[in-house]
């Protein structure tokens, strides 16, 4: 079973970490788009969400392709936190 541990870790990172990262980037992208002129907030969320599944797929492929698991974990964790924080900060006060 120990032989499978790195593989399982990578699968979990790709499926769950990739989802978290994609969600965070959609939050950020939605906030950025909502700051564009004549873009209602709900439509900005829609536009970001439509792109979100491409972001997720790209994240999964990248997380399987990247050599170092530690680096992948770091990128996912930092990226998710930063994107969420930036998205929430940019999105505050928008209607």
């Amino acid at each position: 079973m120990a032989a499978f541990a790195p593989l399982l870790a990578r699968v979990a990172l790709a499926v769950l970490g990739g989802y978290a990262l994609a969600s965070a980037l959609v939050v950020l992208l939605a906030a950025l788009l909502a700051r564009m002129p004549a873009m209602p907030r709900a439509e900005a969320v829609l536009a970001a969400s439509l792109l979100g599944f491409g972001i997720y797929a790209a994240a999964v492929v990248w997380l399987f392709a990247v050599h170092s698991l530690h680096r992948a974990v770091a990128v996912v964790a930092v990226g998710t936190v930063l994107a969420t924080a930036a998205g929430l900060w940019l999105g505050r006060g928008l209607s």
């Binding site: 939050v27 873009m39 907030r41 709900a42 829609l46 392709a65």
Partner: protein, 534 residues
């Protein structure tokens, strides 16, 4: 000269290896669910015609539609009937018939808060007994619900969503691991076992790659609000709040408990048809008998507009206060509110549902859907055939058992699900009409029972025998279906052709053609087995 590979080339090779593993194992994990999603999705392209074939009592699609006066009379009769069976209810639904004089479908919620439906005669407003009404069936809708939720509700929706994401990843990684994507396009070496399956998998995947990418992506996007709600929650507080901000609708009217009769629906029908400039096909009354009642009159999708342009077009609807008759809300036909994001979503929905271009588009989608089904199936078979010739010992001492599981699941999903689909058509003709309201559930029971039997059979027989036996039975069921139809309803291909009933003709013709192709395939296989002793 034999130089060591340069670092860049080596890195490229290791990327290829990593993604080959992802493609092979990720693909194997989802191949059976994806096969079910692809096959039933391909059938869903013709959901309307399949439902028509499954309801032989209804008139052909091109029978003359009811006139405005007939529609008004039908709605008046339906209202009188509903007021009698459910004077106070959560909802009433009146589905106007497509053909003049055809039966009218009524649905309502009874005193026990159960949704019930019945057919009403358009002539005298009498509810039809089971023997006189169109048979109850789950219809082509069954294939659609298999397609997006495996008939398993929310859990199924998430399983299908996960597997579709895996399909996207498999398509992307599949492109990367190809050394010669263009040459594979033209390569097919039949009759050579593993090599042929790889060629078939590559050729069909590469040839229809744009369609497969499009259909996978737009399929996920249909349920984007369920699958990716984070941004909706952070921006609007909840998915519901986001959705009502995206498409403003009149607020829900809570029940007041004050009794109030529903006004004259047939008068509002005329008003609504005047506003929409088209016949109404659906009337929904919320909270009839309560002072909060409202009535929505909806028009059909505009076929001629939809045929020429992409993006789902609404048929429009008018909402009335069902007590006072005041107009609460109007959605004009072909309304396309919102900016670019909403337009993009409409286009993606239209692309997924093939709601443009008419029958030619449907047939193209059907063929591309079959190609997708073949792509997934050949992938699963390739895994098994490759390892049958040369075991790779991936599972240590459990390897033979793991390969056996793959073989069994391949037969049970690929042949077994096809069997279950045809058995579903058989069940529709064989189950007694007297089962009435329980009938749709019985059709599903037959479908899943046959699928389960196929799984048991596959797990008891050696794989080559299981393939041949289930394939043979499938061919038999397909070829005999026209006989069953003729015996039980008196209709067959000839009758449909003479009546100009292209939809039912198409369904039965495709089933018959499938049976003939299967016989040809099984015959070829038999010859090969005899010659090569395979």
């Amino acid at each position: 000269m034999n130089r060591p590979p340069r670092p860049a080339a080596r890195r490229k090779e290791s990327l290829r290896q990593a993604l080959t593993g992802l493609h092979t194992w990720g693909g194997l994990l989802v191949v059976w669910v994806l096969y079910a999603v692809f096959l039933t999705g391909t059938l869903t392209v013709f959901m309307g015609p399949i439902t028509r074939w499954l309801t032989p009592e209804l008139a052909a699609a091109d029978a003359p539609p009811p006139s405005a006066a007939e529609r008004a009379q039908t709605v008046a009769l339906a209202q009188r009937r509903l007021q009698q069976v459910a004077p106070v209810s959560h909802f009433w639904v009146i589905e106007l018939p497509a053909a003049a004089g055809g039966p009218v479908r009524l649905s309502w919620e009874d005193a026990d808060e159960q949704a019930v439906s019945a057919w009403m005669s358009a002539h005298d407003g009498v509810l039809l007994a089971a023997a006189d009404a169109p048979r109850r069936t789950s219809g082509g809708r069954h294939f659609m619900r298999m397609h997006y939720e495996l008939q398993a509700g929310m859990a199924g929706l998430w399983v299908v969503g996960f597997c579709t994401m895996a399909l996207l990843v498999a398509l992307v990684s599949g492109v990367v691991i190809h050394k010669r994507i263009f040459r594979d396009f033209f390569t097919f070496r039949p009759g050579r076992g593993q090599r042929s399956w790889l060629d078939a998998h590559n050729a069909v995947g590469v040839l229809t790659l744009p369609f497969q990418l499009m259909i996978a992506y737009t399929g996920i996007v249909v349920f984007y609000a369920t699958y990716l709600p984070a941004a909706m929650v952070t921006s609007h507080g909840s998915v519901e709040a986001y959705l009502s901000a995206l498409k403003p609708r009149p607020p829900h009217r809570d029940e007041t408990g004050i009794a109030a009769p529903v006004g004259d629906l047939s008068a509002w029908l005329r008003d609504a048809e005047q506003q929409l400039q088209r016949p109404v096909e659906l009337v929904v009354v919320d909270h009839p008998g309560d002072s909060s009642a409202s009535a929505r009159f909806a028009g059909p999708m505009d076929e001629s507009t939809a045929a020429r342009r992409l993006g789902s077009t609404t048929g429009g609807a008018v909402l009335f206060d069902a007590v006072s008759g005041a107009v609460l809300h109007v959605v004009p036909p072909r309304a396309e509110p919102g900016g670019v994001p909403l337009a993009a979503q409409r286009v993606m929905d239209g692309l997924h549902f093939a709601s443009f271009g008419g029958w030619a588009t449907r047939w193209l989608y059907f063929l591309c859907g079959l190609a997708g089904t073949a792509m997934v199936a050949s992938g699963g078979l390739l895994f098994a055939v490759k390892r049958r010739q040369r075991g790779l010992h991936e599972f240590g001492r459990h390897t033979p058992r793991a390969y056996r599981v793959v073989d069994v699941l391949n037969v049970a999903t690929m042949a077994g699900l096809a069997l279950a689909c045809v058995a579903y058509l058989w069940a529709n003709r064989l189950l007694p009409v007297g089962l009435d309201a329980a009938r749709p559930a019985w059709e599903l029971r037959v479908f899943f029972a046959v699928w389960l039997l196929a799984l048991m059979h596959a797990s008891l027989r050696p794989a080559p025998h299981a393939w041949a036996e289930q394939g043979g039975l499938l061919a038999l069921l397909c070829l005999a279906l026209p006989l069953l139809n003729a015996a039980s309803t008196g209709s067959h291909l000839g009758v449909y052709a003479l009546r100009g009933d292209g939809q039912r003709l198409g369904v039965e013709g495709v089933v018959l053609a499938t049976g003939l192709l299967l016989v040809a395939a099984l015959w070829r296989r038999r010859v090969r087995v005899r010659v090569q002793g395979l």
